[in-house]
């Protein structure tokens, strides 16, 4: 298939349709609104349902119901809206329901700004909702990767019966890049014997996260933990750029990783051996891949559009082996490649 030029939000929406998603429940919020807008037109074309919910809270609970009924289903939002969805996400994880949740991050806390940010890393990877659960979190850095990861996200969600989050930012959502949709429509979807579809010919199915007996609930959470352990073992993804001989390694994800890649090029032109480590899965964090490229690394510079959140996972992964420094912009400001290059130069001097 030939390439088309699409906005990240719209491409991601189309990817969901290609992945067999036929149900979308959402609420308007900048900078992800093109996604529901696109699907409001597209879903009826493919026999699906787009429903604008009365709130983010209702939307995520509609996702719960639809997923429990066996459907491939998605919702999308941006930071403040994801906070509202947090309760439902916890229930969805607790009841082991597959779904895909998109967060095109904007600046926070509070109403913050509509400009891009990466301040929801903790929320996405360490919780957000209550209790012991994990989301599989994927962070695309280009529109094409957003498409590919979204299609994969539905399979992963079904495989683990767990919500998967696509974590982007306002730039990824608003940016246009050429994309190619590799999957054909109407691929075969997995059978979900656990879904509530009416108990004809079988015992009743129950979708639930409540276990009043502590012993039983501990068993349930431990079973979830086994699943999270399997994800940690199998689903770590990362990409490196000029990392093999790097002395200064940048660590960045999503849009920021693009900025850093250019900064690496600028540094290389000056004879500085810089490289880039780009996590694609934020949870599970690709610690193993990071440990593999530490060979000649004298220091890691983590770059984020936040006050420093992913840096904690970088530190955990390298476990004190090399110094880890941080550069970030917040409030909707995006670091420039020159800023990052300057930081590389300064960092090299103190190492």
């Amino acid at each position: 298939m030939s390439k088309v030029l699409m906005k990240g939000n719209e491409a991601l929406a189309e990817a969901a349709v290609r992945a067999g998603c036929r149900y979308f429940f959402g609420y308007p919020i900048t900078p992800q609104t093109e996604l529901p807008q696109y699907l409001s037109k597209r879903m009826p074309e493919v026999g699906g349902v787009f429903l604008q919910a009365e709130s983010e809270v209702a939307a995520i609970n509609m996702v719960y119901g639809a997923s429990g009924a066996g459907a491939r289903v998605m919702t999308s939002s941006s930071s403040p809206g994801i906070s509202l969805k947090a309760e439902g996400i916890s229930y969805i994880a607790g009841a082991e329901l597959p779904c895909v949740i998109v967060n095109m991050m904007r600046g926070g806390p509070g109403l913050g700004t509509i400009q891009p940010a990466q301040g929801d890393y903790f929320q996405a990877t360490k919780g957000g909702g209550h209790g012991d659960y994990k989301l599989l979190v994927l962070a695309p850095a280009s529109v094409q990767e957003a498409v590919d990861l979204t299609i994969e996200a539905f399979d992963l969600a079904d495989k683990y019966r767990n919500p998967v989050m696509i974590l982007g930012d306002g730039i990824l959502g608003q940016m246009m890049e050429p994309v190619e949709f590799k999957l054909t429509e109407n691929n075969e979807l997995p059978v979900k014997e656990w879904a509530t579809t009416g108990k004809k010919g079988r015992k009743k199915n129950i979708i639930n996260s409540l276990y009043l007996q502590a012993e039983k609930f501990e068993q349930h959470v431990n079973r979830l933990a086994d699943k999270f352990g399997e994800m940690e073992a199998k689903e770590q993804r990362a990409e490196t750029y000029l990392a093999d001989d790097a002395e200064i390694l940048l660590a960045a994800y999503g849009t920021t990783s693009r900025v850093c890649r250019k900064a690496v090029d600028m540094a290389r032109e000056e004879g500085i051996k810089a490289g880039l480590f780009r996590p694609i899965s934020l949870w599970p964090y690709p610690a193993y891949a990071l440990q593999q490229v530490l060979g000649r690394v004298k220091g890691i510079l983590t770059v984020e559009m936040s006050l420093g959140q992913m840096i904690e996972d970088v530190r955990l992964a390298v476990n004190g082996k090399v110094p880890v420094d941080f550069y970030g912009r917040v409030g909707g400001m995006v670091p420039t490649s020159r800023d990052v290059f300057d930081k590389i130069v300064a960092f090299r001097e103190v190492l």
């Binding site: 149900y23 919910a53 609970n61 509609m62 119901g65 439902g88 509530t196 579809t197 409540l210």
Partner: protein, 248 residues
């Protein structure tokens, strides 16, 4: 020997956890009887709320989903939109529906969502031990209105059926019934059946508000509680059909 009375098929053969004299058991049974009579057990999906009836999924022998507090109408919407041929009902209490989940039920009704909601109004939070509900009567003493519900402080109790009936929705059905005596129990069953039929016929949203008792948290014997319902709740919550008028 002729069987004149038996457990409905749509009810599990287990003992309810409800307190002595609580009318949840009656309401569960009525729903199960209706499911049997309409022969829809194999395609019905129930949604359990948060509150005393949180374990409803253990009692109904149909596919069930347990929802977050107040979100049952949204969960039911998700189910129904995926498979419109299923019959979807949500079972909710007054705190769940009329307080924390008010937005969900109003918008499900406004959309004419083809689901059925059984709304059990006993004017108090039961599971957490007797706190003031959005439907607690003026002057009613609860654990969080120790001097009785004070209008100046907490406003008036919400009449859900009237409110939802005021929404434009030609296919919608809202009825208030009670289960304080056999005659009213029969009327309640009729209303529940009509609500399911309304959904089966694809007309729109249907809600049955059922006035119910909570002897434990009201601090009354079961018989006193039934009498209190009749004497105190009925005047403020008149029984009847509050469905939107045709031709709006």
């Amino acid at each position: 020997m002729e069987i004149v009375f038996e457990k409905p098929k749509a009810l599990e053969d287990v003992t309810f956890h409800y307190c002595p004299g609580c009318t949840h058991g009656i309401i569960h049974r009525l729903i199960a009887e209706v499911i049997d009579e309409l022969d829809i057990q194999e395609k019905t999906i129930g949604v359990a709320p948060v509150g005393c009836s949180v374990l409803a999924y253990d009692y109904f022998d149909v596919d069930m989903q347990q929802a977050a507090h107040g979100r049952a109408p949204a969960v039911a919407t998700g189910i129904k939109r995926v498979n419109p041929k299923n019959i979807v009902f949500a079972y909710q209490g007054d705190g769940d529906l009329a307080s924390i989940g008010m937005a969900e039920v109003v918008h499900a009704a406004a959309r004419g969502e083809k689901i059925t909601i059984i709304f059990v109004n006993n004017a108090i939070y039961g599971m957490t031990g007797g706190q003031m509900a959005p439907t607690t009567l003026v002057g009613q003493v609860t654990n969080t209105s120790p001097s009785g519900r004070d209008v100046a402080h907490s406003g008036y109790p919400i009449r859900v059926s009237e409110m939802l009936g005021s929404l434009v929705g030609p296919g919608n059905s809202m009825k208030r019934v009670s289960v304080h005596d056999p005659k009213h129990i029969r009327q309640a069953k009729k209303a529940i059946k009509e609500a399911f039929v309304n959904q089966i016929e694809g007309k729109g949203f249907s809600l049955v508000e059922i006035l119910s008792t909570c002897p434990t948290n009201w601090g009354k014997t079961p018989v006193e509680a039934l009498k209190w319902l009749e004497e105190k709740m009925l005047p403020y919550y008149p029984l009847g059909d509050y469905s939107p008028k045709e031709g709006v």
